[in-house]
Amino acid sequence: MKRRTLFAAAICAAGLTLAPAAFAQDVIKIGASAPKTGPLGGGGAMTHWPNIELWVHEINEAGGLQVGDRQMTIELIEYDDQTNPEIAIQNIQRLATIDNVDFIVTPYSTGINIATAPMIAQHGYPHITTSAATDGVAEFAQRWPNSFWMLGTATQLAVGAVEAFSKLRDAGEIGDTVALLYVGDAFGQEHINAAKPLLLEAGFDIVYEASYPFGTQDVAPIIAAAKAAEPDSFMAFSYPGDTFALTEQAQIQGLEVGAFYTGVGTAFPSFRDRFGDAAEGIMGIGGVNLDDPKVADYFDRHEELTGSEPDYWASATTYAGLQVLAQAIEETGSLDRAAVIETIQNGTFDTVIGTIDFVDNVNPNVWTVGQWRDGKFVAVAADGIAVGAEPVVKPAW
């Protein structure tokens, strides 16, 4: 009796494990690994995860993707990489070999995308990065032909910042002197290396230059020193915590400049909420063109489903990267990864940030500088696409 029960149970168990396999062909398994905790947990929660949620929700609501003659819904498998490249690599390996996912969506941040790129390439998945802004993209795209780079380069972003400053200077709105700050890591270093020669070339006079350690929020002495140099404009390649701290201190100490630019985090809606009217005229990395109905519609849908406004930089790009993946799968008409990679390389895709047509696996058209204007972070500098407005001088705090 006992043995028979056991036998029956075994058959049931076998049936249970076999049953989903029979339906598996109508589900596309998509793997995601990105930070939910660790230093980049905040950025991931703001920019990355809500877009994946929105994308999966919208596709499944619409009945799934049309892959050849099959209608396939998406099943998402997600892991936290704890902002740790080692864990991120293990996650990718697990997604590829144990979960056997059909596709993998991009990890989050420049560093972790580069760290995981070899593992993603090894398993032959398309790797559409939407949160990596580095000057290495051309080289990376060549090294890993399965990888695509959508957020632009540090040089593009720096060129945009210097262009916006130059426009104000040439219009006689601000003088020549600039205070320059950067966070002491790869991000800050890369941007300063690109921006500094451009500023000098454009005839700016750098009256104060300093870097500070990653994670610094006690920036009173830095702003005091910058203020003592009496600059006409202020440019900082900073991360969210320090972006908020620098802005607050500049406001408190009364650092009055005609152009005030901070790095990552300026494009967060919480930046506007925190500084209110004082945010008006502040520039930073990112910006979108809300005059474009597609962008405006994306902002509405994002807010409706996730309950929060997207950030005004990489959010739209992240969603666009997912759109590229979905369109490439449908266009290929199969889950053959090599074929999908080829489609992405050669196709054009209609996304919320415009038409994406990769040139050597790099998307060349990006917004580079945004400026807070009446509660919206409007693109005032861009490479290859239309801006939302021209930069204006920042009013006094």
Binding site: G42, S211, I222, A225
Partner: protein, 289 residues
């Protein structure tokens, strides 16, 4: 120059708020609490929540946060840590066990905050206005946090050095076995010290939240800072922790203003090494026998 000193002293107030709670927890209750930073971040979140949803001013909010944190930390000590204290054969074993246990608690607390608030960055505007000292502008929120740090440190000093119960607490810190012999309820005193330390840390978090941008996974940053200050000052000595906080605050500000802001961390760790080389027991610490 005066601006450097004032900025530095304001920063030391922040550092004292980060470290005073851990001084009690490690010095008296002998729990090397690695979840200290999470307690602090929880204080940040609760202060923000009280302020943004119930418009309770964070300073008034301390009246709610302190007793709540005291009760929560009391419970944590009774449930999770007291069994370790009871079975530990010596101080070394308790230290290792408490490090492992609080390392686990760190992830539990962090996970709870992630579930409740999500992983995003948070901040809010409270007293973010200019306050003039000697003609230079400083954040009023930092000045208020500094004043609170002074009140807390002085209050703690009076409690520990001029009250009967405080003396008992110091006795437990110095030698738990002998304290037991003079009819001090060591277990209860340690639990109260741990709970009081947790309450101080949460209050520190509430005050810091008025000028820091924080998220659920930032606790470890504060734990690291607290560890450096507590070890530099001498384990379990409030005066040492305050002195270490002042040294670090002023030194970091001076280095950032006069040399280069990128060297602030280097300055911190250089001072830390110098203190450990010449006074391994910390500035006010007693040599271990």
């Amino acid at each position: 120059m005066t601006q450097i000193i004032v900025t530095g002293i304001l920063l030391s107030g922040t550092y004292a708020l980060i470290a005073l709670g851990l001084t009690l927890q490690y010095g008296v209750a002998r729990i090397m609490n690695l979840a200290n930073g999470e307690t602090l971040v929880a204080g940040c979140f609760i202060a923000m929540w009280l302020f943004t949803t119930l418009t309770i001013n964070p300073i008034v909010g301390l009246l709610l946060i302190a007793p709540a944190a005291f009760a929560a930390n009391w419970a944590v000590y009774r449930v999770a840590l007291e069994p370790l204290v009871k079975r530990a054969k010596n101080r070394g074993q308790l230290e290792v066990d408490s490090i492992l246990a609080t390392f686990g608690l760190l992830f539990l607390f962090q996970g709870m905050m992630l579930l409740t608030f999500g992983g995003e960055y948070f901040n809010y505007t409270f007293l973010a206005q200019r306050f003039d000292i000697f003609g230079s502008g400083f954040g009023l929120n930092r000045v208020v946090a500094f004043a609170a740090a002074v009140v807390i440190a002085v209050g703690l000093y009076i409690f520990l050095y001029h009250t009967r119960y405080g003396t008992a607490m110091r006795a437990v810190s110095a030698d738990p076995k002998s304290a037991n012999l003079v009819a001090i309820d060591v277990a209860r005193t340690a639990a109260i010290a741990f709970a009081l330390g947790g309450a101080l840390t949460a209050c520190g978090g509430a005050l810091l939240s008025t000028f820091y941008t924080f998220n659920a996974s930032m606790g470890v940053v504060f734990t690291m800072k607290a560890l450096i200050i507590v070890i530099m000052g001498g384990v379990g000595d409030v005066r040492g922790a305050v002195l270490a906080a002042i040294i670090l605050g002023v030194a970091e500000t001076a280095v950032a203003s006069l040399i280069d802001p990128s060297l602030t961390l280097a300055a911190t760790y250089t001072l830390f090494i110098v203190v450990l080389l010449f006074r391994p027991q910390g500035i006010f610490g007693r040599p271990t026998s």
